[in-house]
Symmetry: C2
Subunit: 405 residues, 2 copies
């Protein structure tokens, strides 16, 4: 059976950044720049007053000055400042020619409408002035290709006039849950039935990862129905199917996916929980292939596979990462814990701000309710592990998960 690392490598061979698209800046939050962006303006665009006050010639020592105009942000100064004169300036206003410092209004006193007395007559040159182009200059690269657009970058791009951008699109992801036993949250399960938790789990986890899921109707264990739903799901860049990938006679998902044109890459990974994981692709003429993950129907197993395989693959499609790898963090164990080994295990646990990891009691892969305290998955080696308090360990963080209040 493939190891987790071998399976990740196989996924990595088929996951590639999506072809760039051009979009408006307002739609770009969270996306990755496909090209570098240069500014078309200086910032500030002029020597700018950083305080409300009076624009002066710094070397002028006269205690009173004649006020020749008032300038606020948005105005254009009309007259230069010379010794003996001043202009009232508001924060953000452009400085008139000749002005080399700003005396804050708090350090001045109005004598009359046209005259001000300065309590501070020797401001150093440049005081309370931001020189033109200091923050960014026209033609300068202000954001490199590969940068993810967060709020600060968004503001800088707006200032720089990047109204339309070339970005890596957000991959589209379809979610198809399968199983005769599933009923919706609105329904009362009859004997043998359970409510569908995989749908809400995966769509929410996709939202937490800043991906936009589309949800297909839950599929029954009938080949024709599954083929049709899979075909619909394959309109997306990535299709997630849950259930029907174990060795049971009714595990029709691999057959349905094959019939829908999906080429199997692997089935089963030496992973606990999550062994039945299935992975395939649909080549496309342009761009990277569509990826299809057949996740175990057990919600915990599917969730572990989602965070170990799907999230790293989506990060590559979205341009957020260069390769499909686990982002392992290092922490220490809060207490004792033993794992007998067998398959490599990723066990739900809680990590605090000091990277201390608590491996809390949990009833195994069917215990979804027992996972609500988890915000990470601790890696436990297939050769077995005996942890003492303070021992080093590695874990994968679950992004977007906020245990407790």
């Amino acid at each position: 059976m493939l190891t987790v690392d071998e399976a990740l490598q196989l996924v990595g061979q088929h996951a590639a950044q999506l072809a760039p698209i051009r979009i408006r800046l307002r739609d770009a939050l969270g996306l990755v720049l496909a090209d570098e962006v240069t500014s078309d303006v200086d910032s500030p665009p002029y020597n700018k007053a950083m305080m409300d006050g009076f624009a002066v010639v710094a070397s002028d020592r006269s205690p009173t000055r004649t006020i020749i105009e008032s300038i606020m942000a948005g105005d254009v100064p009309r007259r230069p400042i010379r010794p003996g004169t001043t202009a009232r300036v508001m924060t953000g206003a452009p400085l008139p020619d000749g002005a080399t410092a700003v005396v804050p209004v708090e350090q001045t006193e109005l004598v009359d409408d046209r005259t001000v007395r300065l309590e501070w007559i020797d401001p150093p040159p440049g005081k309370h002035i931001m020189p033109q182009g200091l923050s960014m200059s026209s033609g300068q690269c202000i954001a490199a290709a590969g940068r993810r657009i967060d709020s600060i970058t968004m503001a800088v791009l707006a200032e720089a006039g990047a109204a339309v951008l070339s970005v890596v699109p957000r991959p589209t992801v379809s979610v198809l849950t399968t199983g005769n036993e599933l009923v919706s949250v609105d329904e009362r399960p009859a004997a043998g039935q359970i409510r569908n938790s995989n749908g809400p789990l995966l769509t929410s986890a996709l939202c937490e990862g800043d991906y936009a899921p589309s949800v297909l109707p839950s599929g029954r264990d009938e080949l024709d129905e599954l083929v049709e739903l899979a075909q619909q799901g394959l309109e997306a860049d990535v299709l997630l199917v849950t259930g029907g990938v174990s060795a049971g006679v009714k595990d029709l998902v691999p057959a349905a996916l094959a019939q829908a044109g999906v080429q199997q890459v692997f089935h089963k990974v030496a992973l606990k929980p999550g062994k039945p994981l299935w992975f395939g692709i649909v080549p496309r003429e342009h761009g990277p292939p569509r990826l299809v993950f057949g996740l175990p129907g057990n919600p915990v197993s599917g969730f572990v596979c989602f965070h170990l395989f799907v999230i790293p693959a989506l990060a590559v499609l979205a341009g957020r990462a260069d390769s499909v790898v686990l982002r392992l963090s290092k922490g220490t164990s809060m207490g004792e814990f033993a794992y007998g080994g067998g398959r490599e295990m990723f066990r739900p646990a809680y990590v605090d701000a000091q990277q201390r990891v608590e491996i809390f009691p949990w009833h195994g892969s069917a215990d979804l309710a027992g996972m609500v305290r988890a915000n990470c998955l601790v890696r436990l080696s297939e050769t077995g592990v005996e942890l003492a308090a303070g021992d080093r360990l590695e874990y994968v963080r679950l992004p977007g998960i906020n245990p407790g209040k």
Copy 2:
């Protein structure tokens, strides 16, 4: 002038959790539960097979068994298992009465359609079975009031039948930028003009905090226009206004807000950058007052005030926090840095996974482009600070900000 702590306390006196609403589970991601939720089902709802295999009486040692039925998830077993008989079971299937263990299919061999030979004849009782109700039982509290609904909680709530929930709503937030100098990202700034970066900055930062902003048209520095826009903005729980709060003659925002019915709570805080911060309220008959923040027009100053005051206030309204406080984290300085003091400063910086903080070169509050590397704000005392490499410091993390790739 108020200190940052005093100003936070004043905001805290007016910020309170919004009144709960009832919504459907699918709309609840990221919201906080107003009431505890109990399950209406056992999970698993039956003794459940955890492997594909054969359900047996654990104490039965006969090497071959007669297959009396096949059971998959969603089925209801019809016949009890007795010594000498077995039922084929798929992962997730309910176990028939009498069955006390599952022998995995890999450890069996079919003799004919009705007979199976077991390679493992003495499984311990309970092997590969999840007992009914082990994960959660009917009537049990599965999520406490105050829990924020993440993907795992969402899945547990779905399984438990919580189709409609009582939650704290997401506060609504209006964003009103003001200033004659502002043009949109699509426009070429004329002399004296700059592009509006505050709008994209604050709306994006609200999205990063999982709040949903609504954006008003940018307001010119005209009292009547500002009053009208402020009144529109006051339909939201929180109104953010940028610009027009300095001491300049054209700083009309406090006057416009007063005319729109906002009661000033404070104006100016001993904070760098961010001194002009203005805060007021509009009492409501039911529920906590609407909050109004007049943020400095300088984008960096406004952004600092947003993360120090607005985000903690929104967290209280949304039920994510009990009080309006800074979430300070501890780290160490990567290099030397000196701050001469004056006002308490929150300076943009970069913190890595090991809590090491780099205070990088930055041209002050008008240098928005110089902030793109920031993912935190380092607190520097008003009495001045001299940091050496390795010295301890405190910082506020900027949630949602992902510097670099």
